[in-house]
């Protein structure tokens, strides 16, 4: 059985970002695998732990610099990595990324595709669901519990909502987008790190994938980012001074009521 994990490269959540000429400046910013994708990978690896004949593929459309991140996925236990990297993919919107991913996934005869619930960069949350649509598969979004039954070709799942957990029931194959809390991702073992470099790593361009070049990149984009700007700066706040906690709280309540008018 094959499982595909979709991954994306994003700026580290600890990174500060700056804007120049109305564009986000990513040069020199530490780039990592999207944190939500790590939960997808872990879920795939847990299936492989219980069914060792499972093969886990990690698939990314991204820059050459993401190779190290995919090698890290191999160190964690994935079997093969596929990096689709092509200048012509620049400016792709999530629909176009999904077309490329779906072309690759079709070749892999997989039963489950995992992805993060959204990239922590643009938070679109669209590409993985568009992959499901292109494959004609169902999806479970923002998944916090996933229980497949590979014999019966069914699954149950849970996803968080504001009223409680939604309980899903459906049939495989399925695209699952992972929420934090789905699992606790593992660390790479020394053996895993040593073995990662020997595992298959395919680097492909759009022609290799067989994606329609007119449907990918900026020319096919459905939205355009007009500009980016930093969030408005807040004026410096005030640290309230008083002798006792009682006085501090009393003064805090007064300013919240009279100045901020939020009480």
């Amino acid at each position: 059985m094959n499982i595909v994990v979709i991954a994306k490269q994003v700026p580290d959540t600890e990174a500060r970002l700056t804007v120049a000429n109305e564009k986000v400046q990513l040069e020199g910013v530490n780039m990592v695998i999207n944190p939500f994708d790590e939960y997808g990978l872990e879920e795939a690896l847990r299936i492989k732990d219980s069914l060792p004949e499972t093969k886990v593929y990690v698939l990314m459309v991204g820059p050459e610099s993401a190779r190290k991140d995919l090698v890290n996925c191999l160190a964690l236990g994935a079997d093969e990595a596929i990096l689709v990297t092509d200048e012509a993919a620049a400016g792709s919107d999530p629909h176009a990324i999904a077309r490329v991913l779906a072309e690759e996934i079709k070749k892999l005869e997989s039963t489950v595709v995992f992805a993060g619930k959204q990239g922590v960069d643009y938070d679109w949350g669209l590409a993985a669901i568009a992959v499901a649509e292109l494959l004609g598969w169902p999806h479970v979004g923002v998944c916090k519990k996933f229980k497949p039954d590979f014999t019966a070709s069914t699954f149950t799942a849970a996803a968080e909502s504001d009223e409680g957990d939604f309980i899903y029931s459906g049939t495989l194959p399925v695209v699952v987008t992972a929420e934090k809390g789905l699992n606790e991702p593992r660390y790479a073992s020394l053996k895993g790190i040593m073995g990662a470099k020997k595992k298959p790593f395919a680097q492909r361009n759009l022609a290799d994938v067989g994606a329609d070049a007119t449907q990918v990149g900026g020319c096919a984009a459905t939205v355009e980012q007009v500009r980016a700007f930093p969030p408005p700066e807040k004026p410096p706040g005030r640290v309230i001074q008083a002798e006792t906690v009682e006085e501090l709280v009393a003064e805090l309540v007064r300013v919240l009521r009279e100045e901020a008018k939020v009480l």
Binding site: T13, E14, A15, H95, V120, D121, Y122, D123, W124, G125, L126, I129, A130, A132, E133, P138, H139, V140, G141, V142, K144, A158, E160, S161, D162, E163, G164, D165, F166, I167, Y168, G170, K180, G181, A221, T222, V223, E224, Q225, V226, R227, A228, F229, P231, K234, P236, G237, V239, I240, V245, E246, L248, V249, L252, V253, V255, L256, A260, V262, L263
Partner: protein, 323 residues
């Protein structure tokens, strides 16, 4: 201007606040509004029918079949093809985000989610959307033909009161769940009375300074008494003190209440990203050097375990005086 389809949502028997906000956002994008809702609650349907809509369609859920992306996207597609709207609007809620994406994917529509502002520019519309959890703000426009899919962030647009005296009767539709390969069959309710972080007006949030899982009780006690939602920082969640559902920040929820009270939270950048648009931020921390004090409107250097109960009593006293 043209037609806008708005996807309304009910929570228990009531129309969600974000649904009223959607109608306000729709007024920036069109002049005729078609509502879609999925509920068995007559009160919610009644509330929706008074929102100034020209049509209201209820995709009635069935026993053991509450929602299916494929089914609902197919229903929305039928409606979109018949009505030819300029925009289809959703709230950025668990189901709103799910359906918006599945619909946009199937119809290959332009899609901008989590929108916080709409403005006119050169005869078109510009949509503002926070990026990197709010570290940067982006402005986008659609290149695709209509209809275009937009989801709006809760708690930003002013809720619409609706149109007095104008009411539309709901058309019942029976969604075809047999086509769906994944269905929501039920809802495991969590503790009732807790307020949703995304829609909360007051949030009290705890970080590593809480000291442990039991200590969160002081925040829950405050929240129950005052009518607030409880949040948490990533380090508190990663320490296993509280469920991830409570996490505020870049890998948790982005929130924008009127009042955000950060207790024992140092103020890591990924946390600040998720709450910096709160109208008023209060920091309570024993470490006066904590970065949270730089972003807070008001700070007190104090032990949260002492300060939070005092704050609760003070707020209750004010409310007792009638505000």
């Amino acid at each position: 201007m043209g037609k806008v389809i708005v996807y309304l949502e009910a929570k228990e028997n009531e129309l969600k606040k974000v649904s009223r906000e959607l109608v306000s956002a729709a007024k920036l994008l069109g002049d005729e509004f078609i509502g879609v809702i999925s509920t068995q609650a007559a009160e919610a349907v009644l509330a929706a029918s008074g929102l100034g809509l020209s049509r209201l369609v209820n995709l009635a859920p069935q026993e053991g079949k509450l929602y299916a992306s494929e089914t609902f996207a197919a229903e929305m597609r039928k409606l979109a093809e018949a009505e030819k709207p300029a925009f289809i609007l959703f709230g950025q809620t668990p189901l709103g985000r799910d359906l918006a994406a599945r619909l946009a994917a199937g119809m290959k529509l332009g899609f901008i989610n989590d929108v916080t502002a709409v403005e006119d520019k050169d005869g078109g519309k510009l949509f503002t959307k926070p990026l990197y959890a709010g570290k940067v703000i982006g402005q986008f426009r659609f290149l695709a033909e209509p209809p275009c899919v937009v989801s709006i962030r809760p708690n930003i647009f002013t809720p619409s009161e609706g149109a007095a005296g104008v009411s539309v009767s709901a058309e019942e539709a029976v969604p075809d769940f047999s086509m769906a390969k994944s269905v929501i069959t039920g809802l495991e309710k969590k503790e009732t009375g807790m307020i949703d972080l995304k829609e909360a007006d007051v949030i009290i949030s705890g970080g590593r300074g809480m000291g442990g899982p039991e200590q969160f009780e002081v925040l829950f006690d405050f929240a129950r008494a005052v009518g607030a939602a409880v949040g948490a920082s990533r380090s508190a969640v990663d320490s296993g003190w509280i469920d991830h559902a409570f996490q505020v920040g870049q890998t948790g929820k982005t929130v924008n209440p009127s009042l955000y009270i950060a207790c024992g939270i140092s103020g890591a950048i990924q946390h600040l990203a998720g709450m910096q648009t709160s109208k008023c931020i209060v920091a309570i921390n024993t470490n006066e050097g904590a970065p949270i004090f730089r972003i807070a409107d008001f700070g007190i250097v104090a032990d949260l375990h002492e300060a939070v109960p005092l704050l609760k009593q003070a707020i209750l006293r004010i409310r007792g005086e009638g505000g």
